[in-house]
Symmetry: D2
Subunit: 370 residues, 4 copies
């Protein structure tokens, strides 16, 4: 009895399971007439897919996108676009073995309570991070549409464990940043920090442990006037979307929790006129005031917990005999999920922002040659 | 073209403006047959209302609830319940004076972009914190219904500026905590910290400045199995609701951003059996795994920014001549909004959680004598 | 546990009861910047209000609209507009008397099953036709906005009992038709038929009985291309709205049920070019094909059942002793609800159509002087 | 920019095109733990599929259901269930040929206006009756769940052209009726009328023409107390669903349009006690009063227009040169769509009714052995 729809006008519907036949997404309300190339979606998927580097899970999946509907003559038709990737490298044997032993900080127990034990538990079923491949496919389309309005979304690894890159990148060219980011298997922009992060991840991997991190997201050229008060605030809808990604423990906009220690005179962003446009001289608000975009870059960051699946022996409960026990998980797991979540975060952000723009009737295409 | 509805089955609709006739809320989908006393709603409103202590705004409002529909013979009928408070102590003169001067970190600019200049700007109109009085009224009913399932929600001031109360209160009696909290005008549970906080607020007030803080929220006895993956996750819906409150800059569940620096072996909560019930030996997850409640206390905290309205002179822009200028705001403002937001946070939390329970068909009333 | 919201982008929320304090509506998503005059809303309400002629109920209600929010300087602000009428001439004594005796074809029994006996039964509570005064208020605004796009909605009495006006009026000036209609207390356009209808209603009134009828609705200048396949079809949304009005038993678009007896070669509307515009030479489709408007007049008609409240003695059940009994209803009732439903039908039609236009981003205002 | 979702708690998402890769449906919110056999879905699909008799289109499609997600160990998991049928016998050549010539009473023109010419026009794309195969798959599951509450839905051909079967069947065993119906290729219950109808259809087929008809639907054992006032009325949601099926021109509940000619004393259904249960002695209301079920059979009927695709020469417009022209359609078409729509109507009815029951929290499973 779940609810797998999201969005007011651009509505996505998520389906599929980690060890079922496939993972998919339907994106409804996407404007007609936009040229869609499979390559663009595939490029995004490739950044999320497993096995892309030594620090990601060794599950081997091609994650090749198939578009099943909604495209005709290489353009969007206005009809729902259904996209899937098939599950190939499925090894459910380990899940059978442990199916009565609750994995710590995994959904096993909650899921039993929710679905009376009928949920597909193999590879965490609907709760697997693999489900977010659907977000990436829909997000690829949303990003593509936003680019036609010159809106750009960029996320990167700000921190892994205690190693943190505190520099600001709002002013830089996103094109360059993207290249820079993809040169780092941990998707950190600072090459030195990147090396440290990789080393840390390899270390926890050796220890059969995992590590968390922070992802920062910046959106440039987002028009002022999008969003609204109360339940239509940009923070409400963005956070709603973001927390649909597994493993997120927190979100903060602009200076975020730091605002709690600030005075108004420090935190308030003075209005100025620059390039004949009203702007703020700094951007502690993170580009959103009163739930509505100000035209300044939208900035937020999220906390990613360490992967729950670790090889280290853990204390837990066997529900078949209701006795406490020890669990040593086998299987293929990411020691740190941060580098892959970056692509998912960009995707869900694009979906939320395009939905706002479409719902407000502010989407503009320049002619039919898109 | 906003969207002022929220909720799947328990649906609230917010309306009214800060300096209009009234502020109101409609709560639809509330179960029939529950005894509703105005007093309970009023008690909650009184905790949010302005002018309740020396550290809140001096605007004088009785904020007396009027129930306009949905109640018959003192019970809910199953019909939409409309509740309002009237605006009495309205002084819009200052807003007329400044209507072309953008108040820093206020919605003025975003709102003009959004509503083409037609929004009611007096007292920030729909964007005023006063709108949340509607949440409090609806939240009072939601809390009341949740109590019938023995679910309790409690929020308190964890930090004002740098002064922070790091103690844990999950194990304590909420009844006692509530008394303790109401003894502090800043709603902090630690009497010593409370005094420090009050002193800090008075200091920033003298400086014609403001200060931010952190509110922590704990929910006890929430049943396991509520919520779901992706867009129906408890974090998604709770954060959606929470960010509908003005001035919130961040939210974190369980250990939150700290998770980013933790290893899986530290962060994972071991399953144990206690009192013949499956529990976790610690609760870093904050009572939610995979978007679904675990039966452990739900714990989250939010960052509240310093009130944007300050008396200190600020740099800004006059939109009538598009020139930069200085602004010295008059008017009555809270130097710190944290103590009043606590009640609003409890309210919106109750609304979200009751909606989940109703939507899943898990609401239970014991007999008709409610 | 009802659901009193309707609409994708223009969303109305209905509240209030027949014998409670008031009946109200909130309209959310209405465009900002449109001049709103109370008079226009009042004029519409006056056409629906009770006691307007010898053939309507004698309940005396001024039904004076009060706008509680969403308007500033006489213009819509983009915020939710809350409008109410108060209940004044309430006489609930009769309902107390009969509260255990099920009125035939009234909601009494269904409502007890639905709300466990807690619903407000006085004057049928939420199920009263009086609730539709809210639709009329919201509809007045929707009509007003549609007029800015030159879209006109017109409904009239096509039949009362067996007396039917079969003439077509699509080609006539709606302004003239409206005057003509308002000259008839039964709102029939044919003066002779009108007299017959009034005589028939007076006859059933004398017999302490009631009579049904048919209302026809025509929309002119509705742009082609609005609506969609499946659940967003114009017929789906229009019928959804229409059946929210009590006493409707059927709806048919274009030739409607007659289509069942027709051949394709008769029913199909040939495309032609007229005035350099693609049109159809006839309009059996009623202006909608594939759920989408064709640019031809939208035409549909609805069946209105005879008022359930009649003075004649009826057979029924007393639920307090579960025995069959006889019921002779007192009270003030319309012998025929058709003339008042016309205004309600126009209203809900306007709401649905404006919602479609707004949701598709097709609403156009010519400048700020609206 | 369409909207292909429907339902409050049981939410279906329709996707696919007539000549694309497939037609599909996702059903979300279906209860966990119900045994699902492909056979049951296939049996339903077989009743809708083309080529099943001499009076249906000769398009050859196996229409074999594939379940892509949401089922595990042959049971529903609570996750979204995605089901598809592939398109095999696709011949788009004729559509290429005529793509600039507007087919009378087809969506061609509306669709161009709606989607700026980007819609997939082959086989009418999203507007094809083939899309309703998705409804049938989802409906098969909904019917299956409703049967566990002993709720039965039955539709049949009441009329083809002027030939009409006026008998009542509410009292008969649905099991027998179903057998009887499936013995008739036109799905009429009266064998004599059935022969007449088949003869009529064959006659119009020879004339390269088509014919309309009426389908009646009866639901037995539907519990009292489901539905609500205004926008949650059973008539609102049922008609919303029904008009999502192409080719429907009207719907009427109970006596429907006949109510327009009736007096209250005739139309009102007297309450009686029978079998210790409160019932009505007749059922002109069609089992719904005030938008809520009464516990009596729910009865409604729909008007189906003659298939728009006919072989006869028709007058129309060529949009490439904006000139009027003649069109003689080739291709494979149903001379009468009524016999196939019956299954679709049952399906969408089941979906709507199960959604109501789930949304109200009234769904009951007796144990886990479902």
């Amino acid at each position: 009895m779940a609810d797998n729809n999201f969005g007011r006008k651009l509505r996505i519907t998520s389906f599929g399971e980690s060890h079922g036949a496939l993972v998919g997404i339907i994106i409804d309300g996407f404007p007609a007439g936009i040229t869609i190339k499979t390559e663009f979606i595939q490029t995004e998927l490739d950044k999320r897919k497993p096995g892309q580097s030594k620090i990601t899970t060794s599950r081997k999946e091609a994650d090749k996108v198939e578009i099943l509907s909604g495209i005709f003559n290489e353009r969007s038709t206005g009809a729902p676009i259904c996209m899937i990737i098939k599950n190939k490298d499925v090894d459910s044997s380990k899940y059978e073995k442990y199916k009565n032993i609750l994995r710590p900080s995994h959904v096993d127990f909650s899921s039993i309570k929710r679905y009376d034990g009928f949920a597909d538990y193999r590879g965490s079923g609907r709760f697997s991070g693999r489900i977010t491949a659907g977000f990436v496919m829909a997000g690829a389309l949303a990003k593509h549409a936003l680019k036609k309005m010159n809106i750009n979304i960029f996320a990167y690894t700000k921190a892994i464990g205690e190693i943190s890159d505190e520099r600001k990148y709002e002013e830089k060219s996103f094109e360059n940043l993207r290249t820079q980011r993809e040169n780092s298997i941990v998707r950190c922009l600072d090459p030195e920090k990147s090396n440290e992060m990789v080393a840390l991840i390899e270390k926890v991997q050796e220890e059969e442990d995992s590590i968390g991190g922070i992802v920062k997201c910046i959106i440039k050229n987002f028009p002022a006037g999008i969003g609204g008060p109360v339940f239509y605030s940009l923070e409400s809808t963005l956070s709603h979307g973001v927390f649909s990604i597994p493993a997120i423990k927190g979100i903060e906009f602009g200076v975020g929790f730091e605002a709690a220690t600030m005075k108004g005179s420090e935190h308030n962003d003075p209005w100025i006129i620059e390039n004949e446009r009203i702007q703020t001289s700094k951007n502690d608000a993170g580009g959103i005031i009163g739930g509505i975009s100000t035209g300044m870059p939208i900035i937020f960051q999220i906390a990613v917990k360490p992967t729950a699946s670790i090889g280290k022996t853990q204390h837990t409960v066997n529900i078949s005999d209701m006795k406490e026990t020890q669990l040593k998980l086998e299987g293929r797991h990411d020691p740190c999920i941060v580098p892959r979540i970056i692509i998912v975060l960009e995707a869900i952000t694009a979906i939320v922002l395009l939905d706002h723009i479409l719902y407000q009737g502010e989407f503009k295409l320049e002619g039919k040659n898109n």
